[in-house]
Amino acid sequence: AEVEETLKRIQAHKGVIATMVINAEGIPVRTTLDNSTTVQYAGLLHQLTVKARSTVRDIDPQNDLTFLRIRSKKHEIMIAPDKEYLLIVIQNPCE
């Protein structure tokens, strides 16, 4: 459906290293990386997301985390968190 198309487009973009969809238990639903790396990313990023969300909501409980971006030297990791899943895209923004 449209979801598949959009996902494929995102994966096909230049600079995109990996795309992952992980459910709330940490099990990858869709991934373009190998399983061990995916699981590693999933675990670490999940913890970070929970911490980030906790921070945001501590400051104002009516607020909530919608997007998380981590810019590092080599890549940029973009996370769209939700109660049931995590959408993670790793991009190399330099051409």
Binding site: T6, H13, R30, Q47, R57, P61, F67, E84, P93
Partner: protein, 719 residues
């Protein structure tokens, strides 16, 4: 027995015991049992000679006494009986008895002992004295003999402890668990709100469990997840009733199906945002240039990109510098010593104006289609609608209309598939989400951009009046209705190859009325009366195909129409048949006419005869003719910022003309790659960029650099 005193009052002592005359006389045995009671009511002497009297002795004494009360009881009973009998008898007393003498016996009742405290002291002279004295003496002797006497032994006794018996009991170890939780403010907020959410989630959960067969999920899985358990823990700590938490967990279990995740709307939205953010990352320098922001250089970026970025940055600075100068001066500012010195500060030489390609709106879907028209949204200057369709008859295929957003240059926001090639489109002003599309088969469709639905909102296919030729241009025009006051209404006007300019009414069905029929006009060549007349009669149709039109920017009653013959007619909305003026100059079909937005007496026209002509509306001969190459000019547009600048799309290149600089040559000439042909141009209103559509389906976004006089808007072109 009755006793009367002196006054005759009855002072008969009432018996202390009133027994019911009908009652059965209690027997002696019963009396004994209830002796205590009787002792209370009757007379009772509790004889006691010493304080340590056991119960038995009291009963004995009472027994003694009870005999007396018993006897007395009998007497009282008998007394009451007598009384009763007496009462019975009294009734039978008559007057005669009053005269009888009655014997009255006064007797003394028995002594009623109320309290008897026997004395401890006895008189010496009583009979018992001797005995008591003897007893006292013996007691005194005993007391004397007591210490040291063998008969008195102090003995200590030890209580016997019973034999202790150990008994062991074994029980299960009571498992203690320490539990602590850190409460955060959002946790409190959640707990507070969960009471409201709980009833709905309960309903959902029950619905889900009822609908599907829940797969058994072991708790091990739950424990394995890293911090999800803490999440769940926090939610379960906030739910009061365990039942609801079980329901919620079941509900969550259903959601773990991956398909459910993938098809959820939230996921779609997240994907949408993610794509946009990706685009932003990829296109950030280009988008910044588009917006004319200083471009940030990523410190870790490789060297060549930094060079181009720096170059862009420098170009920006130059342009800014130039623009500032231009504001002070009205006319040409290109060769100005002050600017030269400014330029020299940054670079040694004057950089000629150029078009820098930023990016292009293209995707797989649009590959192969030729761009026929472009239009900006009236409300959102970053939203672009592009129509794809071929101009030639031979190349006709299904057309496409796409809405592109600045935020995502690689995939259009909306895709509308059309049956026929799209030849014209325009956004409405009054209702900004309406997009009108004109097609090659003459039909006009209106799409609602807000919905993702592919279907047209309105279609003109059922209209009886529709065009029979391709709709070459359409526009929403705001017009002052002079009759009904000065409220501006919007009309959709189209011109098509069947020679009619029509106005469409947007109601439930799309229907149109004719504004103008373009008649063929004869050329002004000298003709021989007989021959040419006959020739003119043998024309196929009376009407000339209209290719383009443009309404006057100030006075929307007038408009120009360009025809296939090469004539441009100035028409008025009020007259249906007559033209006000005809401008002849072109030798081929006029593809575009455009009024100068600043100097509203001038207009520009381009045609297939390789030329662009500048006209003044009062003169019927051309003012200026621009022809630089032997290529068909498909599209022209005046720059919205400057009165002198216009862009032209010739087949193999895009030209920017600046009339203040040169009227013979274009200022910028951008050559296309061999395979593509440029078909349309569009200036961006909020930035110095030009959009060029080509035959490959790409809309390239070019930034105008170093273009002088970009901000001048006052013009007085005198000839």
């Amino acid at each position: 027995l009755q006793v009367f005193d002196d006054e005759g009052k009855d002072v008969t002592p009432h018996p202390l015991f009133h027994s019911d005359p009908k009652a059965v006389v209690p027997r002696q045995g019963k009396l004994l049992a209830s002796s205590a009671h009787f002792g209370g009511t009757g007379s009772g002497t509790y004889g006691s000679s010493s304080t340590s009297i056991s119960n038995t002795s009291t009963t004995e004494s009472i027994l003694d006494e009870t005999v007396e009360p018993g006897s007395r009881r009998d007497t009282t009973v008998s007394l009451s009986d007598v009384q009763g009998r007496q009462e019975e008898i009294e009734e039978l007393l008559t007057k005669d008895d009053l005269d009888r003498s009655v014997d009255i016996y006064l007797t003394e009742t028995e002594t009623i002992w109320i309290l008897d405290m026997p004395s401890v002291a006895v008189s010496v002279e009583s009979e018992d004295a001797g005995r008591i004295q003897e007893r006292n003496r013996i007691y005194a002797d005993i007391c004397k003999n007591r210490p040291g006497n063998d008969r008195f032994v102090e003995k200590m006794m030890q209580t016997i402890n019973g034999a202790a018996k150990n008994k062991e009991v074994q029980c299960d170890q009571i498992i203690m668990e320490d539990k602590g939780t850190t409460v955060t403010s959002w946790d409190l907020y959640n707990s507070f709100n969960v009471l409201k959410i709980k009833p709905t989630s309960k309903a959902e959960g029950s619905g889900a469990t009822a609908g599907r067969s829940s797969k058994p999920h072991t708790t091990k899985e739950h424990d394995q997840t890293m911090s999800v358990s803490s999440d769940r823990g926090s939610t379960s700590s906030s739910t009061m009733i365990s039942g609801s938490s079980v329901l919620a967990r079941n509900h969550e279990e259903e959601e773990y199906h991956s398909e459910v995740i993938l098809t959820s709307e939230k996921f779609q939205q997240d994907l949408f945002f993610m794509e946009r953010i990706l685009m932003e990352n990829i296109f950030q320098p280009k988008l910044a240039a588009y917006r004319q922001f200083p471009v940030l250089i990523d410190p870790d970026v490789t060297s060549d990109t930094s060079r181009t970025v720096a170059a862009v940055k420098e170009a920006k600075e130059k342009e800014h510098g130039k623009e500032k100068k231009d504001k002070e001066e009205q006319k040409e500012a290109f060769i100005d010593p002050s600017i030269l010195s400014d330029v020299n500060k940054i670079l040694e030489e004057i950089v000629p104006p150029s078009l820098e390609r930023l990016w292009s709106y293209a995707c797989d879907l649009t590959n192969g289609h030729s761009v026929s028209s472009m239009a900006w949204s009236k409300v959102n200057p970053d939203l672009l609608a592009v129509g794809y369709g071929a101009f030639d008859f031979k190349e006709q295929k299904k057309g496409l209309a796409c809405c592109w957003s600045l935020k995502n240059p690689m995939w259009p926001e909306r895709i509308f598939q059309c049956e026929h090639g799209v030849t014209a489109l325009d956004f409405s002003m009054a209702s900004p989400s309406l997009l009108a599309v004109g097609m090659y088969n003459g039909s006009v469709a209106i799409y609602n951009v807000r919905s993702c639905n592919d279907a047209a909102l309105l279609d003109s296919s059922e209209s009886s009046n529709k065009h029979t030729g391709p709709v070459w241009q359409l526009r929403w025009v705001e017009q002052d209705r002079s009759a009904t006051g000065d409220s501006k209404t919007e009309r959709l006007i189209c011109i098509s190859a069947d020679g009619r300019i029509t106005e469409w009414l947007v109601h439930k069905r799309l229907d149109c009325t004719d504004l103008m029929k373009i008649k063929r006009t004869e050329s002004k060549k000298k003709k021989l009366p007989d021959e040419k007349e006959r020739k003119s009669e043998a024309l196929i149709s009376q009407q000339a195909a209209g290719m383009c039109f443009d309404f006057h920017p100030k006075d929307t009653n007038f408009y120009l129409a360009g025809t296939e013959e090469g004539h441009i007619h100035k028409c008025s909305c009020s007259s249906r048949e007559q033209f006000l003026k005809t401008y002849r100059g072109h030798k081929g079909p006029v593809y575009k006419v455009a009024w100068n937005p600043f100097s509203t007496d001038m207009f520009l026209s381009c045609s297939a005869d390789w030329s662009i002509i500048l006209w003044h509306q009062d003169s019927q001969t051309p003012l200026l003719t621009f022809s630089s190459t032997t290529a068909v000019v498909h599209d022209i547009m005046w720059s919205p910022k400057s009165a002198f600048v216009f862009a032209a799309a010739k087949e193999s290149r895009v030209e920017i003309w600046d009339l203040s600089v040169s009227i013979l040559d274009p200022v910028i000439s951008y050559f296309a790659s061999p395979r593509e042909k440029f078909t349309s141009v569009l200036f961006a209103t909020n930035t110095d960029c030009l959009l060029v559509g080509d035959s490959n389906g790409e809309v390239g976004v070019f930034e105008l650099q170093n273009l002088a006089a970009l901000n001048s808007n006052k013009v007085q072109l005198t000839r």
